[in-house]
Subunit: 313 residues, 2 copies
Amino acid sequence: MTDMTDLSQSRCAILGGGGFIGTNLCRALQGRVAGMKIFSRRLSFPPAVSGIEWISGDFEHTDKVAEAVAGCDTVFHLLTATTPASANLDMIGDLNANVAGTLRLLDACRAEGVRRIVYISSGGTIYGIPQQIPTPESAPTSPITAYGVTKLSVEKYLHLYHHLYGLEYRVLRVANPFGPYQTAIKNQGVIAAFMRHALRGESINVWGDGSIVRDYIFIDDVISAMLAAATHEGPSRVFNIGRGEGRSLTEIVEAIEQVSGLTIPVQYGAARAIDVPRSILDITLARRELGWQPQHDFLSGMQLTWDWMRSLS
Amino acid sequence: MTDMTDLSQSRCAILGGGGFIGTNLCRALQGRVAGMKIFSRRLSFPPAVSGIEWISGDFEHTDKVAEAVAGCDTVFHLLTATTPASANLDMIGDLNANVAGTLRLLDACRAEGVRRIVYISSGGTIYGIPQQIPTPESAPTSPITAYGVTKLSVEKYLHLYHHLYGLEYRVLRVANPFGPYQTAIKNQGVIAAFMRHALRGESINVWGDGSIVRDYIFIDDVISAMLAAATHEGPSRVFNIGRGEGRSLTEIVEAIEQVSGLTIPVQYGAARAIDVPRSILDITLARRELGWQPQHDFLSGMQLTWDWMRSLS
């Protein structure tokens, strides 16, 4: 669906390219762009991105960040130094790492003549407890985790740099992505974590009573949205990216049982203050303006993910 | 209009109490609360706040901030380390000073058992270039100065601390206040600056062609809104505070000529990238929920301000 012609002459920097979304993005871009560089602290799956230039560094290393974006016209900004759970434990650290870090990145982008930044924001935390479900981009933004506040601040600085300096940007407020190359590290990615436990024959620990609803989207559909955002020319710059459908944690466990053929014991625990009860994104705008829509139904995505997880063990 | 009974037992800290709004607030609170302390770097008009405890310090002095809020139930947060013009010149400095500073303040408030924070936000910058005029609180927030981005971030952290820790807050997005004790320092307060030039027989320098429209509100009306916000119990926590009327810079000059009886030469200069063309706030929510409304018409406020300015010279 995405017209890749426009990216074929592009030189791309993928900041945070060693993680889940980044690894998938790099694989999608490989051979389809004029050049690419990964900037990240580590590579979660080195063989998956072999042959791609990797600049190893922290977001705080200003000179390394500048080196990463030098000569690039398009920057994919996937760097997040914290998680929804960890950000609340050190809000000033979260602010410094993510917001001040992005400001240094934006200055490097200006200096190096970068044309566009595609930023991965957080569809699940930026709205806080939604007053409207599915939630459109125009809904109030009242995060209940510092993680969402700093994501929102970065969005606002992107708007500001565009206004002041003409640096183009697109923001994708991504729901809950899942798929190959997702790890359960840092407690992100409930599907990856649950599948790992299932593979080991362990029981699954669920926060709360299993009723928490999220909008899960297969990673390939996120990547196609990122490619569309990299070349999009319409008036909107902020897009929700999800399936527009909600599933409870209980339904996730059932789906894993379905694709795995296993029976999985579940243990329920205390709910977390950072979790909103329901998050489902309205993806009308992305459908209309990006010409994008999810191609993978939920269960086929789950099957692909399970098969990949099994292939590792 | 404001019921002061509820504040009579209050112990208040006024952070930034040495400035324009703070000095007026302190004078309004004096003798009407059980106790009060000023925290600020300096006092613009020491005689105006004589007899009030003053803790001198920077926002970065965590121990001084903690000392200021200790034993207080109500904190008025008026501290702003930057201006709309200066913030863009050092965005990371602006972020550290205002947002990280507020996070340290919020932790001090939690530790000291503060009940409520009243925060002065920026009605003129937080919405960016408004799509709707007059602009309601629910309008999109896309600041075109870093000053507005950090004000917005502070609002979001206030919401977060309320959610996580029950710390109560009210935000007043104040338009363009003017009146006694406003100085022309740091280029804020166009009316104070213009009047000072007029008093010295100097010409007035206007950015752009004089068509920029702002919502000017007399300081006493801002103070009454702050008192109402300190005890308000309704469902809303963020309020626009202005007159809900716009005036151009040219009209400001004309009003100064009217209250002063002078003829004032004007020089027009380059427009600034940080100035939105028009900013007028919709104050319906504050009228309805705070039971507040502006009591001073524009010209009588201008006359009071002019008379005060003349009394200084």
